[in-house]
């Protein structure tokens, strides 16, 4: 009976191939989505862990409420001085990060979406890796993420206009940098400026969005966290170890990128849904055309169960083989999807 099913598949190669193709497409789409998004998440985890490598403890403003999305007031700069005096602290640096508008040489915004400025942090906290030029050192200097640098055809020494909270500033472009391993984070243009310039651009004079702390030799991050908490007692802050902070950022990013996985899965779901109809149709037609064949088998003494088993065996075989092919297809599709997103400007990390 199994032979009859196998021969049947071989005798209808086009129909078998089309049915299998429908399964392959749907499975490849779903598998590709999961491979890609899992790779991205893993990469973010690695990048953030790497970027946070020199940071033992991070201090950020305490959120008023987890479900209230409004940003809490920034930290006072004087907290840095309090931390410098805390036991076990080797290095302390503050950072700001905020929205600005970066203009290209023609004076137009480099991207229709959000643009950001990130303050340069001293070693060992720096998250950017400069691939050309050097880090900005003066209030008149700025660097760009390497994707924006390349896309807007900037050259070192160009004048870049950045519009911040207090109006436009014309700055000299001194370098381009990658964030960890990627040219940009999710395709958002980022300007890198000194802390003082960044604070001015986002209107946070003497204020900070986060403070990074590195511990002295022999001090564990957990001990340091306790020391920092003690030193900042009374201030409205949240203190995390570098690892905790990286995990928090990953989970924030995963939330931000959740739409991405959802969107891709919707496509995959549609592919499977349409595929299901194709498959249903094909099998209905197959069974209808095989009615005489199946009736003959019944007449010759095949039980209902034998006939059912042969049809189910045929379907299961097609499903299994096509699913395996789809899985392989998904592995091939993931880098292709990533390439597609790179082309439209979202450089998603997918290595390491």
């Amino acid at each position: 009976m199994r032979k009859v099913a196998l021969r049947g598949l071989r005798a209808r190669p086009v129909r078998t191939a089309l049915t299998a193709f429908a399964v392959v497409l749907g499975v490849a789409m779903i598998a590709g989505t999961y491979v890609l998004t899992d790779t991205i998440n893993k990469s973010f985890t690695n990048i953030l862990a790497q970027a946070n490598a020199g940071t033992d403890v991070v201090v950020v403003p305490r959120k008023v409420d987890d479900d209230f999305s409004s940003d809490p007031p920034p930290l006072d700069e004087e907290l840095v001085e309090r931390l410098r005096a805390a036991p076990g602290v080797r290095n302390v640096a503050g950072a700001v990060f905020g929205q600005v508008s970066i203009r290209d040489r023609a004076g137009k915004s480099v991207s229709s979406g959000a643009n950001f400025v990130s303050s340069l942090q001293p070693a060992p906290f720096e998250q950017f890796r400069f691939i050309s030029g050097r880090p900005p050192r003066a209030l008149s200097e700025v660097a760009l993420d390497s994707a924006t640098f390349a896309e807007s055809d900037f050259k070192l020494g160009d004048r870049v206009t950045i519009v911040g909270a207090r109006g436009a500033r014309r700055l000299r472009l001194v370098g381009s940098a990658r964030f960890g391993e990627v040219a940009s984070v999710g395709g958002y243009p980022v300007a890198i400026a000194t802390l003082a310039l960044s604070q001015e651009l986002v209107n946070r004079e003497r204020k900070l969005d986060s403070i990074s702390v590195a511990g002295a030799a022999g001090v564990t991050p957990a001990q340091l966290r306790q020391n920092v908490r003690t030193a900042l007692a009374g201030a409205p802050v949240t203190v995390r170890t570098g690892a905790e902070d990286a995990a928090q950022q990953v989970s924030d990013l995963e939330q931000d990128f959740g739409f991405f996985r959802t969107a891709l899965l919707v496509f995959g779901g549609i592919a499977l849904f349409v595929g299901a109809f194709v498959i249903y149709n094909t099998f209905t037609i197959t069974v209808a055309q095989r009615t005489r064949e199946l009736a003959l088998l019944r007449t010759l003494g095949a039980t209902r169960r034998q006939v059912l088993r042969s049809v189910v065996f045929e379907a299961a075989l097609v499903g299994l083989v096509a699913s395996l092919l789809g899985l392989l297809g998904g592995l091939a599709l993931a880098p292709a999807l990533r390439g597609l997103f790179q082309i439209i400007g979202a450089d998603l990390p997918a290595t390491r």
């Binding site: 064949e293 007449t299 010759l300 003494g301 039980t303």
Partner: protein, 245 residues
């Protein structure tokens, strides 16, 4: 029922539909089919000859009366037992589409055994292949065989499990006279040499002349029962039974 009877029916009835619109395809047929004999069933379209065959073979269930096949009352059998009965006790030859197009001639020939999960007896298989004259075409697909060859493979398949009785429904209906003669010769051989019981439904007097016994049905009843004789004699019988036949 005599000891020699392999199939017998008692007041067999088959009614289609209900109420005033009901049609009696079979209105009470009692008969006995003798073992090792070739019986032809004739009758006009709608006379009930195919219905009778389907009931005797367990392909359909009667609305009245009983069928005994090889000593078993098949009326009380459930679907599984009826399936086993068809598999082990009955061979079938139809007018068309007897063979699975995806299997070779030989695979089709042994299909009833394959379904039953049994191995064919080598000698028996070879003698059937000889009788069919399949020779070197045993690995051909049905589409590569002539209509007559296909029907002869179908007959060999009906014989392969050595059933109690072979039912043939218009086995020559789609064949020219030469191929028909070969097919009927093979059925005759099955009876004479393999001691097989064959029941054949046909409306062709020439085909019926190969049989030992002729049953004629009209309006769901037996209208004639006697030795088959020649094709001319059969035609005379049919004329006598009624113009419609």
């Amino acid at each position: 029922m005599t000891a020699a009877a392999i199939v017998s029916t008692t007041d067999l009835q088959r009614r289609y539909g209900e109420g005033p619109a009901a049609v009696d395809a079979l209105a009470g047929v009692s008969l006995e089919i003798a073992r090792g004999r070739f019986t032809a069933i004739m009758g006009a379209s709608g006379s009930g000859k195919s219905t009778l065959m389907h009931l005797m073979a367990g392909l359909d269930r009667p609305t009245g009366g009983a069928v005994t096949l090889d000593g078993m009352d098949i009326g009380g059998l459930d679907d599984r037992r009826l399936t086993e009965l068809r598999r082990d006790k009955v061979g079938f030859v139809f007018q068309a589409f007897n063979l699975l197009p995806v299997l070779t001639a030989e695979e089709n020939l042994v299909l009833p055994l394959t379904i039953a999960g049994r191995k064919p007896d080598r000698d028996w298989l070879e003698s059937l292949v000889d009788a069919v004259g399949l020779g070197d075409r045993r690995r051909h697909r049905p589409s590569e065989l002539s209509g007559g060859q296909q029907q002869r493979v179908a007959i060999a398949r009906a014989l392969v499990s050595r059933p109690a009785v072979v039912f043939a429904d218009e086995p020559t209906g789609n064949l020219d006279s030469v191929a028909s003669a070969e097919v009927l010769d093979l059925l005759r051989t099955a009876v004479d040499e393999f001691d097989q019981t064959v029941v054949m439904v046909t409306h062709d007097a020439t085909a019926a002349a190969y049989a030992d016994r002729l049953l004629v049905l009209a309006d769901g009843r037996i209208a004639h029962d006697g030795p088959a004789g020649t094709a001319e004699e059969i035609l005379d019988v049919m004329k006598a039974v009624g113009p419609a036949a």
